[in-house]
Symmetry: C2
Subunit: 690 residues, 2 copies
Amino acid sequence: MIKRYTYGSPFQTEAVIEQIQAIKEKPSYFKVNKEEDSYTLVYKMDKNDGLFGLGENIRGINKRGYIYKSNCSDDPSHDEGKSSLYGAHNFLIVKGSHTFGIFIDMPSSVTFDCGYTQKDQLVITVSSIDFDLYIIEEESFNETIKRFRKLIGRSYIPPKWAFGYQQSRWGYRNEEDVQKVVDGYRNNHIPLDAVYMDIDFMERFKNFTVDSAAFKDFKQVVSDLKDKGIRLVPIVDAGVKIEEGYDVYEEGVAHNYFCKDEQGEDFVAAVWPGKVHFPDFLNKEAREWFGKKYKVLLDQGIEGFWNDMNEPAIFYTPEGLQEAFQKLDHIRQCDNIGIYEFFGIKDIMNGISNSASDYERFYHQVGDQRIRHDKVHNLFGYNMTRAAGEAFDVLEPNKRILLFSRASYIGMHRYGGIWTGDNTSWWSHLLMNIKMMPSLNMCGILYTGADIGGFGGNSTEDLVLRWLQFGCFTPLMRNHSALGTREQEAYQFQDIGSFRNIIGIRYGMIPYLYSEYMKAALRDEMYFKTLMMAYPEDAFAENVEDQLMVGESIMIAPVYEQNARGRYVYLPEDMLMVKLRSLTDREYKIMDKGHHYVDIALEEMVFFIKPNHVVPLSKGAEYVDGLDEMDLELCGYVKDKATYELYQDDGFSKYYDSPNNWSTLQVIKEDNQIQSISSKDALKISLNIY
Amino acid sequence: MIKRYTYGSPFQTEAVIEQIQAIKEKPSYFKVNKEEDSYTLVYKMDKNDGLFGLGENIRGINKRGYIYKSNCSDDPSHDEGKSSLYGAHNFLIVKGSHTFGIFIDMPSSVTFDCGYTQKDQLVITVSSIDFDLYIIEEESFNETIKRFRKLIGRSYIPPKWAFGYQQSRWGYRNEEDVQKVVDGYRNNHIPLDAVYMDIDFMERFKNFTVDSAAFKDFKQVVSDLKDKGIRLVPIVDAGVKIEEGYDVYEEGVAHNYFCKDEQGEDFVAAVWPGKVHFPDFLNKEAREWFGKKYKVLLDQGIEGFWNDMNEPAIFYTPEGLQEAFQKLDHIRQCDNIGIYEFFGIKDIMNGISNSASDYERFYHQVGDQRIRHDKVHNLFGYNMTRAAGEAFDVLEPNKRILLFSRASYIGMHRYGGIWTGDNTSWWSHLLMNIKMMPSLNMCGILYTGADIGGFGGNSTEDLVLRWLQFGCFTPLMRNHSALGTREQEAYQFQDIGSFRNIIGIRYGMIPYLYSEYMKAALRDEMYFKTLMMAYPEDAFAENVEDQLMVGESIMIAPVYEQNARGRYVYLPEDMLMVKLRSLTDREYKIMDKGHHYVDIALEEMVFFIKPNHVVPLSKGAEYVDGLDEMDLELCGYVKDKATYELYQDDGFSKYYDSPNNWSTLQVIKEDNQIQSISSKDALKISLNIY
């Protein structure tokens, strides 16, 4: 059951798709305190209550013990001390003596003090007196998630090629750079489905342009690569460069599509292109206009985009910079710059970017309302991506376009996925990637993954390889790194064979991963579950934060420590361990319920199959379109009978709901005889059953 | 066997105390390449070779897979991407197909590429053509360590009270602040032996002064606190404030005791006091002079010091700041500050502190040699601490003075300990603390510990409690935090009882911990061993990086994850698990060799006792001097016979080598009868044997 409580006159974020009638009574569980400009909601926790959700965030799957703030932030230091990343995902489930979900639908900052200040108190501070509060109570923890997912609507579904392995790097400047990457993969027979173009492909960082010196015939390049099974995926940034003659700039000015400053002039900020205006994505007309601009690239054969810098990131504003220089000059006029003045200088310079005061300098026009940006800050990236998603529905009504974003708010999950932003080449960020996945799924964000190998900093061969072993299971499997860091494409290291083998395993698993993704999306289910979600009766499962369930058949236990030769694994029931050195070089072992130490060498990966479950595997390919999905192996652990629902479609159209997309595969074990039954005759099935 | 190879004319660091004759032949194992100003030493590693040592560093106990640079650095971001912390500890053991130790005795930067660039190559780059290379080959890994420890001389021994629990915070300004801390502990009956004074106790940050407004009668305060069993421990910084009339400044100028700039003027840098000169600690006379200055505080009853900012940290130099402002003004003259100019401004401002170019601006006078600082950079903190240590030998010939430092080089371990610098309130830093301990012991640094609860950032109740559970075993057990962060003294949190209990356990263990410390110091042994060192025949032990042996009887397996209710523990043999909620509230369980998951609630700690081993425990006290060490419990796991060598002395004099300090305690189990035999009649022994 969902109860909605409305305080004041909330801004309509359109996060939810159901109309729930607001009720007047006081909400259960919480002590609600109204302050001058805010509310606090206080819940007294029992000792063993756990807190789950909050989407894109640092730390554990259980959020208890720290403080989180929903405030979309362009901050590349994802360390344990941070409270905000790029997304704002205000859905949290209290699990314990009472189990219930809570969703705060409010577009500015919300703070979740999860027992940080007082270990027995959950204190939610809503920085507004206008917001919607939803409290969800269902039979179980899992039903609570599912009900919330239904409330917010079906998650985005990408084209099938987007389940292939993808390579990105901030620094591919031109055709030659892209070709080098393509050759690096194809010549080494390492599978690859996409190459990303970061900001350098544009003409002076202008959205929807291509630098003609870098790409002499862009359309031809796109087409030639597609012949090799490789898509080019360009970036789109939030800011529109101020440049005379640039159509996007001129149209935006002419039609008042840009955010305004206090005086009503187009607001100026500086980002990669230098000075820019921000499209007013909260304004419906501006959104429609900007969305249609993607057509320029669609027309050249592009089939996927990533929307970046849409918190929005602001390097500086002219006003902010001027104020900083004034403060600086004031300090420099001191006769003797002392220590505190010196630290003052550092603070001034480091405080210029993404400053709260800059977010108070500009305005949105929503209907006849003029709204200061900081009041709706968390909706900016969401509505940029919505602009694209809604436009694609018009421009390409029956074709899926790959789309994901850096900033997000719940609601955006209907239009695109996210990548988890500018992480670092740290082992701890591989672990964070693992822990973040179920929390994101809870908030509807299914198409997601981290920058494999780490974006900032210099990676190492073993880190990239171990990260790929986990990345094999994330819907978005993309290796990405920053300008100036060590090159980390899969062919850059000594043991290229292991990279080929691990990425090859991903392609073998696509029949399974795609089926499971589609089930999660079409049925409002979790693609990544925690063990606690999969085994609610198992008291130990809640402790396990470094193993995940992937779909219905598989449990994973990735290695995330340097020099580790294996790891501890908890099996909530007996399972079949599959250890792979490549798609074809596998070992199997049936293991008992309980605790195990499992040896996993650097070039090996493992997963575990539940009893009476199977995993459909393909024979692999160097790109998704090259897979023969009519020729499948059923690999599994069958005691008597396993039934698998296989989802297959053309991979690009939107007839998701056609019953023809489904087949039922059964494996029956009787008197030591194994046989399989398929509901689709055309499928060629081989068996590999334990 | 140790072989010494001398290249060029090395600066005499006095890291080693033995005279080893240099040999002319080429060193084994390494391919040595001379470059213009440096050498590289290349060793081809086998797949399973491990690399151990390098003292104070990030990442794993096994250093393989990353790159480390010995370059004493004041950098509070101890993240996975860093290569240098505060110390320079150039001792590394290759363990594998060949096992040997290597020590590079060279006072400037040395880089250890431990399979980072090429995973099968160890590449050591020595940034000089003048250095000593020692290669140590012994029967075993452990003998290699021991031989190196003998080479570098006996480790520093602190007074016994320094094994008590200690409280620090940057921010205790005056008598009232200190009294509040003392009351917080004493009123709550949480044991405490020392309160630290960070920079604010001084008059305008001048070394060896006490702000008379903050402490009206400092000597009386020191004395009153000592009556309560509490020592005040002041900080001493490397820089001497430039201030007319300040004796230390004036004497230093008059006698040319300060480092000089290129023109021969006293070199000026800015640190906490504003502009300072750096004593030339490499100059013997300056060292003697500075060391004697500690007498000012000794005379007021002070018995311990911590030497800080001695990398040396430099916030800025007037030249550096001027150059930065010039660059800044040059950028600002541009008509249009673009993105790259803007990032240029940030880089300029962030590059001012601890800049390499500032370390090239000043000089040391060693005999008749004038040496530019960067050539001997890693010796600065070492020699500051040596100045104090050598002075204490003169000023207090038979009294131990507590002394530890932030910066260090091997050799300094004879004069004092280290704390591991400005860490952060992160769970990952608790784990880093655990992993760093054996590497430091290998380099002779025994008296050491991290800032419990974390220095920077805001800590949480559970982090401080878990960290204390590990801190119970570190010789230096000090809670320390930074200005502006959440207060984290043990009495600041909800569950004060658990803090009292855990710290109380430390005091119960002091008879054991002190005996084990003294054995390690007097016999060149390891206080903290890795499992691999304790169980060289156990092939699994090398994988274990989050459990340690503490002395001869105990294995620990600390919990270092938020919300964890226990952890996996590997037992290399059957052991007795002791689970403690307080010193007296204990559970025991004999556990088999192998892998276990052990439940450890937040308010519990565990340790494991080896078979036929005992641990002597006291009844506890609120400070070390209050312990009755003649009344001991022998807690242990005895199958037939355990023998324990107990070390006891007065805790402050230096008669370490007196045979009277030793007793032998035996526990014999025969026909289910347990009896104990003590070589010292005065000891009252109770038994708690499983």
